[in-house]
Symmetry: C2
Subunit: 476 residues, 2 copies
């Protein structure tokens, strides 16, 4: 049953949770802070996985699986890492009816255990690069949770690599950032900015953290993926050494990178509207739904026959569904499939059949109801899905541009962040205490320095130096 969805303009957070629950993407679980991903939400995640996994493999990465439990002592080995994750750890103290000698941490991320294994596997320069990825669940204890965006357990992938040179590691980290950005834009239809995190927002243990940042419909930022250069921090802490071409022992340079089920939250908040979800055709579990319009019993068999025939023709090439439920009105079905974000609805009734046509209705509202000759359905379906996909990206890109303001002074930065939702850009001189000051005054954070060089100019927080162009914004 479709219940009332809180309008986005009234309460964005309520709108978000209404959509998730009513579209049956996810549900709250009885364990505080955790969620259940329902089949519709999980099938979206399967689409994300399939797309990215292919890219990872094309770039030479292999999947593996490392243990869920990590000895507490491992987490302690890298100083920044332990500091970064300690407050969020969940710990197993009892197992098999006994108290454990050493408590086991439920992985918050797998750098430590993977690098312990890398130390065993990497001996020679011939073992490099080592390019491993893992699809897994991780646990970071959260007090304030939000479905898909912030839960104590979430699903993600984490790539971990080791290289001979720093340059190779930099290239790897940037390559994976590009794959994430390409996914966000070309598959999810969400425009993103590629950037570098400030020291304050960097991953615990990294020397550089790259991220992609997207703008949601409430004009807040969402960090959608991160890629880290770890330098030799972990290879030194875990004593990973290889003998190079001259038989000398070296520590490799490393990267790690990940995206999570948070991407589902991004898709909801970047495209959704008051009717519900709006899914990009490339990821939509159902790309098009066929709805038979049956005004009376006489027309039932001919309509269903036509619908079934069309489904048979199209279902090889497209992810299609027929909604032939009895006792449910077409209007109700329209609402439900709009709620579920299916990109294109095809209606077929006796009048359409007489005219040898069907009615297309796009979830993005373009073209309204559009009569299509039945012979052209396959081609027009393709064209429309392509068009919906690129429109989503275009809309997302324009929305971000329209809601980004550039400022030239610190006062203006603070003012704008307090008065106007959206991204605010300025030239900034890296400085953690200034950054914290901005956050205290505005609740906004430094999302990233733009990766693509936009020159330099006088920093708003230090007039005596040239700053780098940075984005500030409230964020998820």
């Amino acid at each position: 049953m479709v219940e009332k969805i809180t309008p986005m303009s009234e309460d964005f957070n309520e709108w978000y949770t209404d959509i998730i629950q009513q579209a049956q993407l996810a549900d709250y679980s009885p364990v505080k802070g955790t969620m259940v991903i329902r089949p519709y939400g999980y099938s979206l995640w399967e689409g994300v996985q399939a797309y990215l996994d292919k890219k990872f493999k094309e770039t030479g990465h292999e999947n593996a699986y490392f243990p869920l439990f990590i000895p507490n002592s491992f987490i302690q080995k890298e100083a920044e890492h332990v500091e970064g994750f300690s407050p969020e750890l969940a710990t197993v103290t009892h197992a098999g009816g006994k108290e454990l000698e050493e408590p086991l941490v439920v992985r918050p991320t797998s750098e430590t255990i993977i690098n312990h294994m890398f130390a065993k596997w990497i001996k020679s320069h011939r073992d490099l690069p080592m390019l491993v990825n893992q699809w897994a669940n991780v646990v970071r204890w959260e007090m304030r949770t939000r479905l898909f965006l912030r839960t104590s357990e979430f699903l993600w992938q984490e790539g971990h690599t080791a290289h001979k040179t720093q340059e190779e590691a930099t290239n790897e980290a940037l390559q994976m950032l590009d794959i994430y950005a390409e996914f966000a834009e070309n598959a999810a239809g969400v425009s993103v900015v590629k950037g570098i995190k400030s020291a304050n927002e960097r991953f615990a243990g990294a020397i550089t953290t790259y991220s992609i940042e997207a703008m949601m419909k409430d004009k807040k930022a969402l960090q959608a993926g991160t890629s880290h250069e770890l330098g030799q921090n972990f290879s030194k802490a875990f004593e990973i050494q290889y003998s190079d071409e001259n038989n000398e022992l070296q520590h490799p340079f490393q990267t790690s990178w990940g995206v999570s089920t948070r991407l589902i939250g991004m898709i909801i908040m970047a495209h959704g509207d008051d009717k519900g979800l709006q899914l990009p055709p490339k990821l939509a579990p159902t790309q098009s739904v066929l709805i038979p319009i049956i005004p009376n019993e006489d027309s039932k068999s001919v309509v269903l026959e036509t619908v079934n025939k069309l489904h048979e023709e199209l279902c090889e090439s497209y992810r299609m569904k027929i909604d032939d439920r009895d006792n449910i009105s077409p209007g109700f079905k329209f609402n439900e499939w709009e709620l579920k974000g299916v990109p294109l609805r095809i209606e077929i009734g006796p009048k359409d059949i007489e005219k040898n046509s069907v009615v297309f209705s796009r979830r993005d509202g373009v073209d309204g109801k559009n009569s299509i000759s039945i012979n052209e359905v396959s081609q027009k379906l393709k064209d429309n899905l392509d068009d919906i996909q690129s429109n989503l990206l275009e809309t997302s890109k324009n929305f971000r541009k329209d809601n980004t303001i550039h400022v030239d002074s610190k006062a203006e930065l603070i003012d704008t962040l307090n008065s106007t939702p959206g991204f605010v850009t300025c030239y900034w001189d890296e400085n953690t205490s200034d950054e914290i000051e901005i956050k205290d005054l505005t609740k906004a954070t430094l999302r990233c320095y733009l990766l693509e060089n936009e020159g330099s100019a006088k920093a708003v927080n230090n007039e005596s130096v040239e700053g780098k162009k940075a984005i500030f914004s409230k964020a998820y």
Copy 2:
């Protein structure tokens, strides 16, 4: 580097762990009882997943994801379930820097949490059947571990369904058993027996447990998959109720079913030999490896050119690799790919090129080295892979038949189990204390009653009644 593999005949367990480590399928992890699945082993698991996931979806199941952590109170709700799993539970007592009010159990299986959610989702007969599957990690604390077969954490899938009638639930449980058997035989090339577990070996909380049982090369049994009818045990314990067509509240009938990374252990032990793994073509990550034979620098370019051209032609249809590593002899490469169980090796040297041919060498040894015209490679590759696949199954089936003995008395049953490795069948009258007596005297267990009816005869443990045909065997 290929090190010495302990011969199977000398020490089967050593042989097994040698193979796993040297073929880089898996490795021991620093956390007792857990394992690391290395890329080669994980890619085998990906093959298993892809095959089964398709079958699950074709039969109407959808994937979902439920939380890793289960409130301790949930496990306590179903009496047999709590008894069955209590000794194996791992418990999180601290999280986010605090002691938890209620300890959380790391899921040993998800019946309890999933049925809690089913109670929320199932309201009407229109919500049934509910057909859900989950690919996940689970934890059952183990003291004596064996890679892939028995580890504290393992990967699996668990299906959970709810139905209106007992008959539907029975059909579902049997359908999934058939899917597992079909996978074992047609994909993994391992002959299995379908059966019903005795009360003593039944899943904790089930009314009937079906299993598939395979014979390993040491003639021990391996339970490769189970499918359970849960009756209304969980739907009553978790208060799942739906209103039927007459608006009366009913408890649904349920099933659950699962297979795990233990299937990798099955593939190793059913097909491997003293040279290493022997992988079924349908699941082999690499179906065929091309090895250039380069006796001198002069021939290098022409050989590599031919090899690359062939790879390009074949790699669309087959999972192919080229092994063109320098400074490694062909003989060494042959050993390594045999260790890794690649079904078919193709050698190409200058003499072969002169004759416009290549050399096929099958991992199963059939036909020895076989010269194949280069124009026929694609067709012959297909034919050989098909033949290897069916030979593996045939060999496995014959091996089991040749090592199964039927007995007609209890004394003979005990004698045979103590003297002769393999399966021993007899007619048996269900009786837990007799079953335990046999186990005490022979270390063998009642693997299953045959699902396919083979009539009845006087039970060996009770001459006054007709028994059902049962298999006893030592088992993993």
